[in-house]
Symmetry: C2
DNA sequence: GTTTAGACTGCACACGTGTGCAAACCTGCA
DNA sequence: TGCAGGTTTGCACACGTGTGCAGTCTAAAC
């Protein structure tokens, strides 16, 4: 950018550029509006003047007149869920493909959800993407009324005109079950925290069904309670689940996510002296970066955050073009990544 | 929110609310402007009408007329740096205290920086917060000219009127050195990736100085090269640093961040059969959640992400009120968290 | 030279809001 | 009642932009 020699006290406006280029303000506007009718000569003069003045389109004013901004609300339940964090980067990248910018909103308390969604409305967001968390069905209806596109990743919606993109949690659970069984485990358990998330329930269902279908008798699938999350939750659950005679102890455990699995494994090894995979086989879910670490080498189900993000954004953009399209549900396949915790 | 019975096809405007409440549009505007002069009676009628219509202030239009938005650009170098991720939540929380909203921008490639910063300007952001990454001194000058407040976290600025908030990296390095020495280590090493970040250099300097001051002779501090980051980088560095006769092998290692330390420790244990802390003591930096995991139990230096975020936002807000205040540099203390990797 | 289709340009209006200014209103006191 | 002082209100303008419409210009076809 050529720096201007004159005094340039504040923001250059389209009118300033017009004066400098010797054209009308409309010509400036059209130069920065893709597809508008401007001659090549005019465009060049405008671009030159704009460059000299350091002119930047005021997207706020543009949004006012077009009655829609290029902002997209991205609602996350805190930054402790590593899967959600992994989702952010591809979401941003895909939004950028459509010249959209993410307005990040954190909702750690469900009570915050209402005010947050209302706040986003004040920016006339072009759409909103939700990631896992408790469903704000109430105010989402306000979004429907205003035809603000909504897309959800790994969440249930049960709402007309809300697109849902989720990993194939059900199949993932089944794959986990088969993997544990193939490793020779007979007493199996599914461990999850009682957050009541859609994905957690779905993974458990897929797991249970596959276990039942395997023809093994007397399989006990346990769903335990806990108030803490992530790693610490895994430790707590292990304390409940492994503190029993060896003959009653599960031989194979499927954890609803990798952080849970890490806590569970650490407790199993260091508190109960169990060897993995010799005494206990473990499968996680998410394939977070640390799952590949030698300390864990965790067999897990990889979710394609790229696919999830890309599809969510594309659905959102489609709905911006036509808000009346019926709701769609898209399933993204998961992939079993086999590492040492299931290999014996 | 009371749902309206009438057909409400689109967005309610302040004029609509004014008609319904039987007042002027100005009264509506003043009702939603803190500190404006409205009688209690009028305010109540306006609020009632606004509620019935589902009216939400259009912050875009408001920003146009006030010539400044309530958006703050938050620039991050990807989501792979866990410390940056930890920073996001307190940043958002503190921005919310001042009714500001974060516009999240990812800059993984330094070449992207310029276009990203220009893009943020189009939203007339009220300020920008940078986290670690390569310095975009060039376009930052454009921000200075326009008097857009800038705050940096754990980054060097060297620019007038840019506030910098950083952890006491230098002292952290010194604490790490003393901790390793106190654990009995004599051959010490500092491992970092050649990203050239300010914080990395500062930590190394503090470490070196403290080692030199300890009076130990012939301490070798090694700064190694590598092209990969995080965990994999730690593994790669360990392969270089530990592949030598025991008498020449470092007994104490200070890693520039925890992820690096995890990779280093895993390689030391699984590839070189070293015991930690018996054969090797290790100190990290950041205190990410996994540092407390039993598999690592890593002694590390905790950065107060809350303090960093709070100070950065408060400096930013102060500068919004008065853009001419001289640049300030604020140091946030770090805390040594002792775990098993340094206890013998 | 005349006609005509097409590309380009400028005028003027619109978007939804904040706010200075003066008028209107209210309250209390003489 | 008359008046002073303060509070509240509405008018009108401003912010920076997109875009319909009609007019102008260019160039090709006749």
């Amino acid at each position: 950018m050529a720096m201007n020699d004159e005094i340039t006290p504040g923001w250059a406006t389209a009118a300033d550029v017009a004066v400098r280029a010797g054209v009308s303000r409309s010509a400036v506007s059209r130069t920065f509006t893709p597809g508008a009718s401007v001659s090549q000569a005019t465009r060049e003069r405008v671009l030159k003047a704009a460059d000299e003045l350091g002119y930047q389109v005021n997207r706020l004013a543009r949004s006012v007149i077009q009655r829609q901004s290029t902002l997209v609300g991205v609602v996350v339940p805190g930054m402790h869920n590593e899967f959600v964090v992994q989702l952010l980067e591809p979401i941003m990248q895909n939004l950028a493909r459509f010249s959209l910018a993410p307005l990040l909103m954190n909702v750690h308390d469900p009570a915050q959800m209402e005010s947050t969604l209302r706040y986003l409305l004040q920016y006339r967001v072009a759409g909103v993407i939700f990631t896992s968390g408790s469903p704000p069905i109430e105010l989402a209806r306000e979004y429907l009324r205003l035809q603000v596109p909504v897309a959800m990743i790994n969440r249930d919606a049960n709402l007309e005109s809300v697109d849902v993109v989720y990993s194939d949690n059900h199949r993932g659970g089944a794959l986990a079950a088969r993997c544990l069984i193939a490793a020779g485990a007979r007493r199996l358990a599914y461990v999850n925290l009682p957050t009541g998330t859609y994905s957690g329930l779905s993974r458990g269902a897929g797991f249970s069904e596959a276990v039942a279908m395997s023809g093994l008798a007397a399989i006990s699938v346990e769903l335990l309670q806990g108030t803490i999350s992530g790693y610490a939750g895994g430790v707590a659950i292990a304390a409940q689940l492994l503190d029993r005679p060896p003959a009653l102890r599960p031989e194979g455990v499927f954890c609803a996510n990798d952080m849970l699995a890490f806590g569970f494994m650490d407790a199993a090894r260091h508190q109960f002296g169990l060897r993995i995979p010799e005494d206990l086989v473990v499968v996680g879910f998410d394939d977070v970066p640390m799952a590949a670490a030698a300390s864990f080498a965790l067999t897990t189900l990889r979710q394609s955050v790229e696919d999830l993000a890309r599809n969510a954004v594309e659905r959102l953009v489609e709905r911006m073009a036509d808000p009346t399209t019926p709701a769609r549900t898209l399933t993204v396949p998961v992939e079993l990544v086999v590492r040492r915790t299931s290999t014996r």
